[in-house]
Amino acid sequence: MVLGRRFDTQATALTKQGRLAVYPSSRGQEACQVGAVLAVRDTDWVFPTYRESMALVARGIDPVDVLTLLRGDWHCGYDPTAVHTAPQCTPLATQCVHAAGLAHGEAYQGRDTVALAFIGDGATSEGDFHEGINFAAVFKAPVVYFVQNNRYAISVPLSRQTAAPSLAYKGVGYGVPSEQVDGNDPVAVLAVLTRAVEHARAGKGPFLVEAHTYRMEPHTNADDASRYRDGAEVDAWRDRDPVARLETYLRARGVLDDAAIAEIADQAEAYAADLRTRMHEQPVVDPLSLFDHVYAEPTPQLIEQREQVRAELAAAHDEEGDA
């Protein structure tokens, strides 16, 4: 979690330096981001949204590959099949149905794979949230829908998303067992999600978990959170900081001391320094790559358009040579 937070801080700094186009921070949601990933196996499939960069890093994906999307090099930097992680979802809730289908297909093959779908509070208003969880329930597909309720969908508060008593309550209508958890308590998140994953893996169908947490930073670096929430509210959540809480808990249990904390901080600094160095290298993206991968079998029209751009680039290159 310390490492995840350091990654998050570094990514925000890289954005301010112009090295990332945009960065949606998950500071304050470390217990959810890390706890959720710890609850599943490497062979399980994760369906993240754009805010799950920290979760992807916790899953062991190279941070440079995680930031490929946000740097604008390509839409996804990692191999989804190799790391059992779908590309990060931007339209929101669209991944809820993918998770249901993938989990159903895995179960049909006799594999015990579980799909973990991350969603936010706002996305539970989307139709695909409903369709995904309903399909999963009908098919008894092994999916865990993990709702990080961080109180805001950019600027719009929870009260504008739902009149339900809680987001977990929504699962009841689908016949899906649903629980709420303190999303800033990593031990609780891990415990509840582990139980949810076991439920799904045992063939009992999907499970919904709503974690109550808070996005400490604006939606992205381009957002101004002061327009829609006041400092007192943010301060109240700062008192429930998940990293500080875990530290306090572990110190009280006698399993963490100053030396260990210093060592973890050093590791996090080294991790950030490595990321900084590698992100400072200017990526070389072949302009012609824009035509790659549109189809498994390219169409004649695309081949023609690619040739047009290749010729333009060659002509520009020749002109530079002449000058």
Partner: protein, 329 residues
């Protein structure tokens, strides 16, 4: 050689059966595709023979059908999704254009979505609203999707199998008013020798005017060609078959001989396939043209009520009228 006379609907059913037999990764999913066999019976008997895990009755939710099929496709399945009627596809539009179409691109070619989305399309069956639409332009406009349509039983049988075998997502439009029309189908010819999926075909050679059509309008145009022949005009009718990518090599060759073109489709003319065809033919065959490329299409209205759909749909007379007009320049 096992050649049988089949309706277009039965040819599709037989092609789907063949695909299920040949590849255990093929799954059919949609509303009422199981016990009922689909409202047009295109999947008739398939659940009985292949089980409810391979021919899946889904909840009534089009986005859910396509979205879960994305998840299946990511793990190597070849989902064949049925959308019950053209006008019901729009709840799935986001999944189709933002997820199905883009997943291969987004993932840098690492994830294939070998999905077929079957949609009965077009009018002429006296249906109520939302059951007679021609949404092909929406999908043909979208990079990452391929769009094909069949016009006769032989093509229906072969093309559905080719579409399922393709590693790209394909919107497969079925001319619903032609489901009951019969034709000879060669059931034994190997798929590997079949006419390529994304190639247009000259279905009636002619010398005077080139007529481009697809799906339900191919037959209308063939009838127009028969009538025109009685007046001494030979129309060359080309069935485009693939709407994205378009294969216009046969059309260019034809237009360079005839100098006259009429494009026919049921969909409204505004920003439709006909506009793209006209533009490309003009670019490629400008000096061969004796007249502008003319369009015979549905009107720019919502699909009308059944009692007036005959006024809306392009018919033999409108095609012949356009043919006449190509000689007025």
């Amino acid at each position: 050689m096992a050649t049988e006379t089949l309706t277009l609907g039965k040819a599709l059913n037989t092609g789907l059966r063949r695909a299920l037999e040949n590849d255990s990764k093929v799954v059919i999913m949609g509303e009422d595709v199981g016990k009922l066999g689909g409202v047009f019976r295109i999947t008739d008997g398939l659940q009985k023979d292949f089980g409810d895990q391979r021919v899946i009755d889904t909840p009534l939710a089009e986005s859910g059908i396509i979205g879960t099929a994305v998840g299946l496709a990511i793990r190597g399945y070849r989902p064949v999704c049925e959308i019950q009627f053209d006008g019901f596809v729009y709840p799935a539009y986001d999944q189709i254009v933002s997820q199905v179409a883009k997943m291969h691109y987004r993932s840098g070619g690492r994830l294939n979505i070998p999905m077929v989305i079957r949609i009965p399309f077009g009018g002429g069956i006296g249906a109520v609203e939302h059951h007679s639409e021609s949404p092909e332009a929406y999908f043909a406009h979208t990079a990452g999707l391929k769009v094909v349509t069949c016009a006769n039983p032989q093509d229906a049988y072969v093309m559905i199998q080719q579409a399922i075998a393709s590693d790209d997502p394909i919107v497969f439009l079925e001319p619903k008013r032609r489901y009951w029309e019969k034709g000879q189908v060669d059931l034994d010819a190997p798929l590997s020798d079949a006419y390529p999926l994304h190639s247009a075909r000259v279905v009636r050679p002619g010398t005077d005017v080139t007529v481009l059509a697809y799906g339900p309008m191919v037959r209308t145009c063939l009838e127009a060609a028969t009538a025109a022949a009685e007046d001494g005009r030979e129309l060359e009718v080309i069935d485009l078959r693939s709407l994205s990518p378009l294969d216009l090599s046969a059309a260019y060759e034809s237009v360079k001989r005839t100098g006259r073109v009429v494009v026919v489709h049921e969909a409204p003319s505004n920003i439709g396939l006909g506009a793209e065809l006209a533009a490309r033919i003009t670019e490629e065959c400008f000096y061969s043209l004796e007249s502008p490329v003319l369009r015979v299409t549905g009107f720019d209205t919502p699909y009308p009520a059944a009692r007036v759909e005959e006024e809306y749909l392009p018919d033999l007379d409108r095609v012949l009228d356009a043919v006449d007009r190509t000689f007025g320049w």
